[in-house]
């Protein structure tokens, strides 16, 4: 009897989930993306158990070794095991991407929602500020901020958040503009809800879906940009197991020891590719017009 009640309660949701999975499986590329992304996440979580060496552990007697059974991806100039460092780097790069996108989305959507909902002068003011941020080339602005704050991963993250939020503010503002005219907003007002409550409880949840897709796609972009900034020396401090920095270390030995730059490069490629594929899949699944 009890299990029947459970089925009755969750049956429709289960069917919905099954339909979602069915939709996702329609495109093999999305499945590939999901598998790749899942393996990256697993690698990041279980890094200490997978990696044979520590992130900054050096075997000084074995510099620039080609790939072998002892060092799967070879070693770098100071004898660091590239395989282990790529695995440890997964943690750092995924964490940066996640933190940057989450905070940028939170800040951006709060500002965008207030701007779109209030309209008038507040809207004008906030949007001009975002315009100023958008007018700068993103990479240059991030470089400037990272350089001004000093070279480490926290400052890199801060710089990327500063660069990334205006896009979300714009996106959410547009959504809120159309959403605030919906009649349930008026109903909420008539029930005595305050503007803050209406924005965050009624309007925002209704405008968040496009942001979800965009944020997933952006995760890949952030990984790329973060690695790029590290590559030119604005990110991780020397010696940290970060993909961009590892490529930077390997670029002088591109012909003699190509493995030094190749494997971290592959990691960047595959991780951003997987996030892009997943983002595409999410867009298809969340689009109600494609869904029904």
């Amino acid at each position: 009897m009890k299990s029947q009640g459970w089925l009755q309660r969750w049956g429709p949701q289960l069917r919905e989930l099954r339909f979602t999975i069915y939709l996702l499986r329609q495109s093999p590329l999305v499945v590939v993306g999901f598998i790749l992304l899942a393996s990256f996440i697993l690698v990041a979580i279980f890094a200490p158990w997978i990696a044979p060496y520590g992130p900054e552990e050096r075997v000084w007697t074995e510099p620039r070794q080609p790939p072998s059974w002892k060092h799967l991806f070879g070693t770098d100039t100071s004898g660091g095991d590239i395989f282990s460092r790529v695995i440890w780097g997964t943690r750092i790069d995924l964490a940066i991407a996640l933190v940057v996108v989450l905070s940028a989305a939170a800040v951006g959507s709060a500002i965008g929602a207030v701007s779109g909902f209030k309209g008038g002068k507040i809207d004008e003011m906030l949007m001009r500020v975002t315009d100023v941020f958008l007018a700068f080339p993103a990479l240059i602005l991030a470089m400037a901020i990272a350089a001004a704050l000093g070279r480490n991963l926290y400052n890199l993250t801060v710089a990327l958040i500063v660069v990334w939020w205006p896009a979300y503010a714009r996106l959410i503002r547009g959504q809120v503009l159309s959403e605030r005219e919906k009649l349930y907003v008026e109903a909420a007002r008539a029930a005595g809800a305050s503007p803050t409550r209406i924005i965050f409880r009624h309007v925002l949840p209704n405008s968040i879906y496009p942001l979800l897709v965009n944020a997933t796609l952006d995760l890949g972009g952030v990984i790329l940009t973060a690695a790029g900034l590290s590559f030119i020396g604005f990110g991780a401090g020397a010696g940290v197991a970060e993909w961009g920095l590892m490529i930077a270390d390997g670029r002088n030995y591109l012909f003699e020891s190509p493995w030094m730059a190749t494997f971290p490069g592959l990691a960047i490629l595959l991780s951003s590719l997987s996030l892009n594929l997943v983002g595409d899949g999410l867009r298809d699944v969340l689009d109600p017009r494609l869904r029904r």
């Binding site: 349930y184 008026e186 909420a188 007002r189 008539a190 029930a191 005595g192 809800a193 949840p205």
Partner: protein, 376 residues
């Protein structure tokens, strides 16, 4: 003499647009007594909904603004209240049921969430939380051996909680939510919602139109308002559901003793439901009277025209009756009586001066010079 609940005096609501000032409400007067159903009828664009929004002070600003007048609820002028105070009145003392239940409910929140939100906004649930706790303990008490030690424990706990009923402690958030949900279910039962325990967990798209409208009414009633405004509340529903909802409103009026302001263009609803009616034309209430009196003997030429233009089943007609002409432009309304360009009985004075309200028969007011003289 019934007690006066709401009194609207020379209310003017203007919309300041690029084309000019739209005088959407120009000197509206009417009164609603406690426990009655008042109908406001008129054609599209005559200012019925703006009246409702003005009472709630939800006129979109800009461009709209209440230019002057008084809205007295239980003797207090709502127009003098600040936004903060108004927010406490909306949903608690005055609440509103809207036209289209499809679009007036937030699609991403469950019915239970939305109704309990209103309850949480306006009510202090400390007593209810305590009552639930006592009830739970009593249920436990019934299960254990009446002479055992645990039973004595429960009894002393219940006594302790009952003592605190006078000044209940501040409950935790989860407890308050539980109490609100319980109240929500009670309110849903009040509006005869089938399976209320299941409905609170459902999303709006899972309900039919009639059920959604019931949910909206439950939301409006959840805090026991003294005035319920039903703005075309049944227009979007099909006739059988419409009849059910109207019957429900009628029953609820008796049960909770609220006054209801029905805004509609359907004279049938007015005849069926209302105790008294106000007829609006171009931003002015031109006639108001008891429903029976109005239908038996309409005085204002516009009301007469409206009643004539209802298609009749028992009479064979070539064409439907109409009122000649069209609704005036509210930016440049005609001088004098606003109805005079379309009025079959127009006189010279109608073109120059606005007719005041004449009480032509007892409790039957009409703004027309046919029933009284101007000052000169």
């Amino acid at each position: 003499m019934p007690e006066l609940l709401l009194s609207i005096r020379s209310l003017r609501t203007y919309f300041y647009t690029y084309a000019g000032v739209v005088k959407a409400l120009d000197d509206v007067n009417f009164e609603i007594y406690r426990g009655e159903i008042f109908g406001l009828v008129g054609e599209t664009g005559c200012g019925k909904s703006v009246t409702a929004l003005s009472i709630m002070q939800l006129v979109p600003n800009p461009p709209g603004r209440i230019a002057s007048g008084q809205i007295l609820l239980e003797g207090e002028d709502l127009l003098k209240k600040g936004e903060e105070e108004m927010r406490k009145i909306r949903g608690a003392k005055i609440s509103m049921v809207f036209q289209d239940p499809m679009t007036y409910i937030n699609p991403v929140l469950t019915i239970g969430d939305q109704i309990s939100e209103v309850i949480l906004l306006h009510q202090d649930l400390r007593k209810e939380v305590l009552a639930i706790k006592i009830e739970e303990l009593q249920r436990k008490l019934e299960k254990v051996e009446p002479t055992s030690g645990t039973a004595r424990d429960f009894k002393s706990k219940i006594e302790e909680l009952e003592k605190r009923m006078i000044d209940p402690p501040k409950p935790s958030k989860g407890d308050v939510k539980r109490a609100a949900l319980k109240k929500t279910i009670e309110t849903l039962k009040l509006v005869r919602m089938p399976y209320p325990e299941r409905v609170v967990k459902q999303y709006p798209h899972e309900l039919s139109g009639g059920m959604r409208q019931r949910a909206m009414i439950a939301m409006a009633l959840s805090c026991g308002p003294s005035l319920l405004i039903a703005d075309e509340a049944t227009t979007a529903l099909d006739v059988t559901i419409q009849a059910q909802i109207l019957q429900l409103l009628n029953e609820l009026k008796k049960e909770i003793g609220a006054s209801i302001l029905i805004i509609t263009h359907d004279l049938g609803i007015v005849a069926e439901m209302c105790d008294r009616v106000g007829v609006m034309y171009a931003g002015v209430v031109v006639e108001y009277a008891g429903t029976k009196a109005l239908f038996r003997k309409p005085l204002h030429p516009y009301t007469q025209g409206l009643l004539r233009s209802i298609p009749k089943l028992h009479k064979e007609m070539e064409r439907l009756e109409i009122i000649p002409g069209s609704v005036p432009n509210l930016i440049y309304p005609p001088p004098g009586c606003r109805f005079h360009p379309r009025c079959p009985y127009v006189m010279e004075i109608c073109k120059k001066e606005r007719p005041p309200m004449f009480e032509s028969e007892e409790e039957h007011f009409v703004a027309c010079y046919l029933y009284g003289q101007g000052e000169n």
